[in-house]
């Protein structure tokens, strides 16, 4: 260490440390005060059950006179807002006796887009080795692939577990490969355009930015409804990592966001790919106004945004429900689905975009808070590194 005075972290970084401490506490609380209730759904599936016995992770269910009624297994799979836990009951003849959703953390909007009860009813009575695992059967409306996939994979994992332990039959698990499609390709192209634009600057940067954002608006927005949301970030922070084989896009988006923030000092997701940012810019171009917001109002709104982001994260982590954190109006615009509050927010933000430049990005977007956290931490670590040399 050098002989100079020890450099203190700036006030904003101290606030980041304190917020991180409380959020970590909320996560620990959420994790330790959380145990799914499996008994009630097992009783629903096997109404004659008198006694249950857990052996090697599956429930052996007995009725009157110690007669074995069947088995129940519960396994989870990653959905949109976190893991989804489904319990499957199998009778002694090897048929599905019932399926229950024990836990799900999807936003109500996404949950309404899947047909979980219909799928559950359809597979009741099927032999465990002849269940239809096509997630398309579960999707009611396009855009809920992750949720539908989680339902199917959770059922598959539960059935496989019961079949292996109760019937000593190893069910084949189909090999799964990474799903790399248009969305993933577009994300890579957008970040590449961002890097080129950032390096070149000038009018090319402006043109690339417009082109990138318009493509982002169409593909990440209206086509796939896949912008980065606070719910997705909270799911990662909670340790609920989606399967990268069918959720590669969110990994690419978050990696792009983090890496460009660190290496370029400005995240290129917001500048080149964010569909909601693009929507505001388009509306701003229609309006043609660029009113200046006084600096005190900017500072005030930044403070309000940070408090809102912290509160949403804290609530979601303590309740272990990442979807609770999502207050963005993205789904209202891109999927025409949202709560009344989200519709109201959408109305306010896009109307304000006619007058002020990208109001959501400047005053409400949680990504700006995360970007500042990354940049402040990087700056401080860099300063400390400089001290040590």
């Amino acid at each position: 260490m050098g002989a100079g005075p020890v450099r203190r972290p700036p006030a904003r970084l101290v606030r980041i440390f304190i917020a991180t401490f409380f959020l970590a506490g909320a996560l620990v609380y959420g994790r330790t005060h959380h145990a799914p209730d499996l008994v009630s759904p097992i009783r629903e599936i096997f109404p004659e059950s008198q006694r249950m016995e857990v052996q090697q992770g599956i429930h052996h269910v007995y009725g009157d006179g110690e007669i074995l009624l069947g088995w129940a297994g519960a396994e989870s799979a990653a959905g949109y807002g976190g893991p989804m836990l489904l319990l499957v009951g199998i009778d002694t003849l090897g048929r599905v006796a019932g399926v229950r959703v024990v836990e799900q953390r999807e936003t109500p909007i996404f949950w309404r887009m899947v047909r979980a009860p219909e799928y559950s009813r359809r597979i009741v009575g099927s032999p465990f080795d002849a269940i239809n695992y096509d997630y398309q059967e579960v999707v009611a409306v396009t855009g809920a692939t992750l949720s539908a996939n989680a339902i199917v994979e959770s059922v598959r994992a539960s059935v496989t577990k019961v079949a292996g332990l109760a019937f000593d039959i190893r069910l084949p698990v189909p090999p799964r490969s990474f799903e790399f499609g248009l969305l993933e390709l577009v994300i890579l192209v957008l970040f590449s355009a961002g890097v080129v634009g950032h390096r070149l600057g000038g009018p090319i940067r402006r043109q690339l930015r417009w082109a990138g954002q318009l493509v982002g608006l169409l593909v990440l927005g209206f086509w796939e409804n896949s912008p980065i949301t606070l719910a997705k970030i909270t799911a990662f922070l909670s340790g609920y990592l989606p399967d990268p084989r069918n959720a590669l896009a969110i990994y690419l988006l978050l990696a792009g966001f983090l890496l460009t923030s660190i290496f370029f000092g400005r995240n290129l997701y917001c500048l080149y790919a964010c569909p909601f940012g693009a929507a505001q810019r388009v509306v701003g171009a229609i309006g043609g106004f660029k009113l200046k917001v006084p600096p005190w109002a900017v500072r005030l709104m930044e403070g309000v945004r940070n408090v809102v982001v912290f509160s949403a994260l804290f609530l979601a982590l303590i309740m272990l429900q990442p979807a609770l954190a999502s207050y963005e109006p993205f789904a209202a615009l891109f999927a025409l689905r949202g709560s009344t509050v989200q519709w109201f927010l959408l109305f306010i933000v896009l109307t304000a975009s006619l007058l002020i430049q990208t109001p959501w990005c400047n005053f409400f977007c949680p990504m700006r808070t995360f970007e500042l956290v990354v940049l402040d931490t990087k700056r401080w670590l860099k300063g400390r590194g400089g001290e040590g040399q």
């Binding site: 309006g287 209202a332 949202g338 009344t340 109307t351 006619l354």
Partner: protein, 106 residues
């Protein structure tokens, strides 16, 4: 309500519609703005959209569908406002001829 089903309501509605169109015509003439057919078409389309928005919200609430009325109001209201601003800017586009203002200033 009974008033909305009466002939009087639609009579007043028709008068208002004509007054709005005449007002736009007078406003354009006043500012010396050329009003070709495409501008009139755009304006009438927007007027229809605005009328639809008001009717959607009104009928939804009238039928006790307050959630649909609120959300539809936000959605169609937003589209109406943005389209209105865009069309307003288009109406102002084009060479300004000598209108009444120009005459009075002279």
């Amino acid at each position: 309500m009974q008033i909305f089903n009466s002939g009087l309501f639609w009579f007043v509605e028709g008068i208002l519609f004509v007054v709005v169109i005449m007002a736009v015509r007078a406003w354009a003439a006043d500012r010396g703005l050329p009003m070709p057919v495409w501008k009139w078409l755009l304006f009438l389309l927007w007027l229809g959209l605005a009328g639809f928005t008001i009717a959607f919200v009104g009928t939804s609430f009238g039928e006790g569908e307050s959630v649909a009325g609120t959300r539809g109001g936000f959605l169609f209201g937003l589209v109406t406002i943005i389209a209105g601003v865009g069309i307003w800017r288009l109406l102002l586009a084009g060479p300004v001829s000598d209108g009444e203002d120009a005459v009075s200033e002279a």
